[in-house]
Amino acid sequence: MSHSSELAAAWEQFTSQGSTGAYEKIYREISDALFSYGHCFTEDADLVDDAVQEVFIDIWKRRHRLSKVEKVRPYLFQALRNKILTKLSRRNRYTRFQESVEKPAFVASCENEIIAQEEKNDRLQMLENAIQHLPNRQREILFLRFFEGYPYSEIASMLSIQPQVARNLMSRAIKKIRSHFIENAEKFWMILLLPSILSFF
């Protein structure tokens, strides 16, 4: 992937020369992934923002000691993960998912996009809600698999688990999503579509 080599090149420049241009480039390359990953752990956008900020401020301060880092993405994900979990453990960690009026974290701000097909929109909306209801660990797996495209072996080493465990987590996530669809197909027309939704899974 050309992206990862661009990121690696920027990281090299950043750690060896302290280049501010490279520093900004790193942010540009990875910020989308970081925000998405951050929201695997919490809906709180402010908390994720603070964590991303702190990770970047940290690597700036320690730039001269970071040239040994080989895989940049996993390194930054790990840093973000630690930051967020630390912050969460300091406050009340019991967060029951609320059907609040604010947008769920996984719903991107899509004011610029109009999804043409109503059907697709609603099904994907359901999927987003289903993902919302998953435990953090499973959301992490989904992120690493579908956003980053990592194979199970890589996911396993990042999370310090066995590859088979990672696969199990994935299939558990998908089973949960399936049952969420079944439970929530309340709308009349959804019920009509139920057979096709089930077969699609």
């Binding site: 900004e24 989308d32 923002d49 996984f106 999927l127 989904l142 579908f146 956003f147 994935m170």
Partner: protein
């Protein structure tokens, strides 16, 4: 690889397979060939494969959707930058950092030089301005004394003081639209400021487009970094842009600056003499054309109001433009004294 390997696979097994996943997320000729071969060897698996594909594709589209808006990314970057590379904590001392901006700085500068001597004050204050202007339909390319290249669009003007000394902040005043390719003054880290009616754009070595018309100011950044300063009561804002971002400030709304991520070429193609309209409404394209040609364009046909236009046209050549519109919409374009009609 042998297709037999997947002979007993069910949907859940496909979902757990790395090679299958790779094929769905980033297919190539080799993997396509393999899975086609697999399906012809085991046609009974067609439905399982189709279902697994559908699941993966949906997951990919949901999870890959960006969670962070351009505003959010920019805002966070502003905080990061101000705690790291920007403020006075960096190792290199900056020779000049403007504390005030725009007219206030000019006033402060004048006040300072008054102390130095009237003679110098006369020279400073009455330093002649150099102005470049373009008429409707005209484009100009200007090279400034520091090597910065400015493409000035039609019906626009660029003003700057003739005596630009290297250590001072470089400032220009813009009405209309221009594309700036700013030469970075690495030695002095002197910044470059574009003043428009509503906001100032502060840059260091960068390529960007500024469009300032009656109610809106639009800045699109191609490369490098810029900082926007808006100083209006109620809307005091400073915002850093990342490349590929477009910021709009609407004076009518006087609210915060709106950010989005864009294909920057669409906004700066005019400097090559070409306008790119990429699936936008004819109404919107017409607004752009009116600004460039200076004539009101009236769309007389109702059915054209909501039509979209997807075309690149040369700016200089009105005939080609009219012909293009006539062909695209089976319309008749006539130019009158003060307006252009599309019928």
């Amino acid at each position: 690889m042998d297709t037999n390997r997947y002979r007993h696979y069910q949907e859940k097994d496909f979902l757990a397979d790395d090679f299958f996943y790779k094929w769905v997320s980033s297919p190539d000729a080799a993997s396509d060939a393999f899975w086609q071969a697999y399906l012809s060897d085991f046609p009974e698996k067609t439905e399982e494969v189709a279902r697994a594909r559908a699941v993966l594709l949906d997951m990919l589209s949901i999870i890959k959707k960006k969670k962070a808006t351009p505003e959010r990314k920019s805002r966070v970057w502003s905080h990061i930058a101000s705690a790291t590379i920007d403020p006075g904590v960096s190792a290199k001392p900056r020779p000049y950092r403007p504390l005030l901006s725009g007219r206030r700085r000019m006033v402060a500068g004048i006040a300072a030089t008054l102390l130095i001597g009237l003679g110098i004050w006369t020279v400073f204050f009455s330093a002649p301005f150099e102005t470049y202007q373009t008429a409707y339909g005209e484009l100009k390319e200007i090279e400034l004394s520091d090597g910065t290249i400015v493409n000035l669009n039609a019906h626009s003007s660029l003003k700057f003081k003739k005596n630009w000394r290297k250590t001072l902040v470089r400032e220009v005043w813009l009405t209309g639209e221009a594309f700036f390719d700013v030469r970075s003054k690495a030695e002095t880290a002197a910044s470059f400021i574009v003043h428009t009616d509503d906001l100032d754009v502060e840059v260091t070595g960068t390529a960007f487009n500024v469009k300032s018309h009656a109610e809106q100011t639009i800045v699109v950044l191609e490369e490098g970094s810029v900082r926007l300063n808006v100083q209006k009561e109620g809307a005091d804002t400073t915002l850093s842009l990342l490349p590929g971002q477009k910021a709009i400030y609407d004076a009518r709304q006087m609210s915060r600056v709106e950010l989005s991520e864009v294909e920057t070429r669409r906004y700066s193609s005019w400097k090559e003499g070409v306008l790119i309209f990429d699936h936008i409404l004819l109404e919107q394209a017409v607004v752009r054309l009116e600004e460039i040609y200076g004539k009101v364009i009236v769309i007389e046909r109702e059915d054209l109001q909501k039509r979209k236009i997807n075309v690149s046209i040369p700016i200089h050549n009105k005939e080609v433009l009219f012909e293009t519109l006539e062909t695209l919409f089976s319309a008749k374009v006539t130019e009158e004294q003060d307006r252009i009609l599309i019928q």
